[in-house]
Symmetry: C2
Subunit: 417 residues, 2 copies
């Protein structure tokens, strides 16, 4: 089954908010063999909404909209849906109860604007929103052959309510025979072109059910192999065979064989090895610790971090020697190494990652342009240091240094075995 999504909101078109709901919906429907045909991002404007709904129904039998359901004047999705699907706006007592409950749980009182959230078109079936005040509305046309569901724009509300209410209802209404299987392989230490050349003979021999996509990220490449069809067993054997060939060709460069983030791969590795980790961060400013601790379970191996933004902190908490700072400067492999050793000692961890660099846009010194980052990693057996020059903005330098630090550590642990 194919789905069209319409994301509604002026804030999306002026670039103040990014539409993350469409991706969330796509990830939830994928395992059921459902796919997103297209996404339209449009303004809070009745004409645009009408036009988008028309276009969406030309492509898909299921249309999902997000956004434009807030209590304020700029939100007009609900009224426009009433125009499109007919009926009139009327207060729905069950919805009012639901709104009261949500508001009550937040410890705030119900005002008139929030109460108006319970006024809905008579042409819709309301799906009560357990986690927000905007009702979710299920509309039908062509005798129920086509369905439009209007959901809120607030990401966590859509994520939760789509999973627990909307998706089950859709699967019930449109039982599907399509099957889509995926596998992921995460590769480090090769460029996208190098991977493509290595895999060309395999890709050229793919049957029509298989499709390989390259998703390059800083410092790593995610390969996604899809199989589309109706015969699950056949697809599974096709995908298994192709995956095994791909992994043979890229052996030594494979960091993970699941759809795992770098934080998750680090968790998997440390769980397997039973080691502990600490970080000492200057230019990454806590982002390595954040990347690690964003993953549930990280407290099993991650003990902590010292973000040493000033030299004083490098000296006092990490025991970096004043003469090393004076001779080589804070941005040096020598200082990064002492930071890694210092944090492992201060926090009693088996392993450590340390960064010191110039994230920019200011701060460049002679011989050390913006983007220069020194990274040190310590494992129980070895220490490694490197100096890298990352292009781009402050954000990018921080992200790259974070990913590279984690990859360096993972590769060092692999070599220790």
């Amino acid at each position: 089954m194919k789905v069209s999504i319409i994301a509604i909101g002026d804030e999306l078109l002026i670039g103040q908010v990014i539409d993350t709901n469409s991706g969330e919906i796509a990830r939830q429907i994928g395992p059921h063999g459902w796919e997103v045909n297209d996404v339209q991002v449009i303004a809070d404007n009745a004409t645009e909404i009408r036009r988008a709904v028309d276009r969406a129904f030309q492509l898909s039998d299921v249309v999902l909209t997000t956004g434009g359901l807030g209590p304020t004047k700029d939100d007009i999705t609900k009224l426009t849906m009433c125009d499109i699907f007919g009926g009139e706006m009327r207060l729905d007592p069950a919805t009012l109860e639901s709104v009261k409950e949500v508001v009550g749980r937040r410890g705030i009182s119900l005002n008139s604007l929030t109460a108006d959230q319970a006024i809905v078109p008579t042409s819709c079936r309301v799906i009560q929103n357990r986690v927000g005040t905007a009702p979710i509305m299920w509309f039908e046309r062509d005798g129920g052959k086509k369905v439009l569901v209007s959901m809120p724009g607030v990401p966590f509300e859509t994520r939760q309510m789509f999973a627990e209410a909307v998706l089950p209802m859709l699967l019930d209404r449109f039982p599907s025979k399509e099957v889509v299987l995926h596998t992921n392989t995460i590769v480090a230490g090769m460029t996208e072109s190098e991977v493509a050349i290595a895999l060309a003979p395999i890709e050229d021999a793919f049957p029509p059910e298989l499709h390989l996509a390259y998703l390059p990220k800083p410092a790593l490449i995610r390969l996604r192999l899809d199989a589309h069809g109706t015969d699950r067993d056949k697809l599974q054997s096709l995908i298994d065979e192709a995956t095994s060939k791909i992994r043979q060709r890229l052996a030594g460069h494979i960091l993970s064989t699941g759809d795992r983030t770098i934080g998750e791969i680090t968790l998997d590795t440390f769980r397997e090895l039973g080691l502990t980790l600490a970080t000492a961060e200057s230019c990454t400013g806590g982002n390595i610790a954040h990347t690690i601790t964003a993953i549930p379970g990280s407290s099993e191996y991650f003990k902590g971090s010292v973000v040493a933004y000033s030299n004083e902190v490098k000296r006092n908490l990490l025991e970096v020697k004043a003469e090393t700072l004076d001779s080589f400067g804070a941005v040096s492999e020598q200082v990064a190494l002492q930071m890694a050793e210092g944090v492992a000692k201060a926090i009693s961890s088996d392993c450590a990652i340390a960064t010191s660099g110039i994230a920019g846009p200011g701060g460049a010194v002679a011989g050390k342009p913006v983007g220069t980052v020194c990274i040190a990693v310590k494992t129980p057996k070895t220490t490694t240091t490197v100096t890298r020059h990352f292009p781009g903005s402050r954000d990018r330098v921080i992200d790259r240094a974070t990913t590279e630090g984690l990859i360096m550590l993972l590769l060092a642990l692999r070599q220790d075995r």
Copy 2:
């Protein structure tokens, strides 16, 4: 001038990558009075690309596409554009030089797939991509009255090349008389409905040129006031008058009067006060430090952080007393307070923020469900502690605790004055 954007890529539709390019383009064109009409997100599929281009040209004279220009088999944008705009695919020597230069700067050798990036439709004018290997292609139709520019999907390439090459060329081709002015006001400590009710009398009296949008974020609300028209002076006076009324109504709840992130507001405040800051983070795991250090200039006031994920680190580096941990547990206001005082002492900072909580999904204990976070803030004059219960996933709890900690500190500094 209105622009339509087409974001091309299977990875966008299955939710593995989020389209951030459209928002970037919107933010760059906004100050010139240009607006995004709509965004279409579509698959790497020739039929879909053709259909999207047709639809986009129905709405807009300028169409921008991003993505699908990589060197691998799944990228077919370039060939499809050649079908749509005519001509044939031919190696462009100037583009080959540019590709060689980019590849050389990255210290990797040119392989055949990368060299193929220089094969472009003869119907386009190539804009050399200084920061990547995918050429940017400028196509025209209807005697130059309509323009399509095909750009890469890699966010930093599009951000940089759109700013320095594509946008200037577009502004030159389509000189504009439209003016759009914005102001932003960031409000904390009120719900969206409370703000809407407070501002209703002002909004009701708005002239047609003005539009107020509410952008609620966890713990704060961003109000964006837009003025659209052609007479810049008139718009400026309309927007000044309305802004001043809005700010009078919300006085005491206004955190910033610019479009500033919470990290930027913190920088502004500490710059003004000449104070220094440190953080001691347990459940936020370095995210407060990361939020602060993501902003250029943060090294002026931010000295560092101790991410104390284990109790051992809380005791050894932050001097949290063992008996406090035993009596009240790590997740307690008492421990958060000692962490704040401990980090201010260890790092010699004037101010501190400390967090200790249960980000989930595991870790709940009796009386302390997932989402419980104790926050302490220390200023030169006062200390404040609070216990909050945040709903939602691990990410949300970490984000909310980060924002609340920073807002608590900013409000405490305001009260100190």
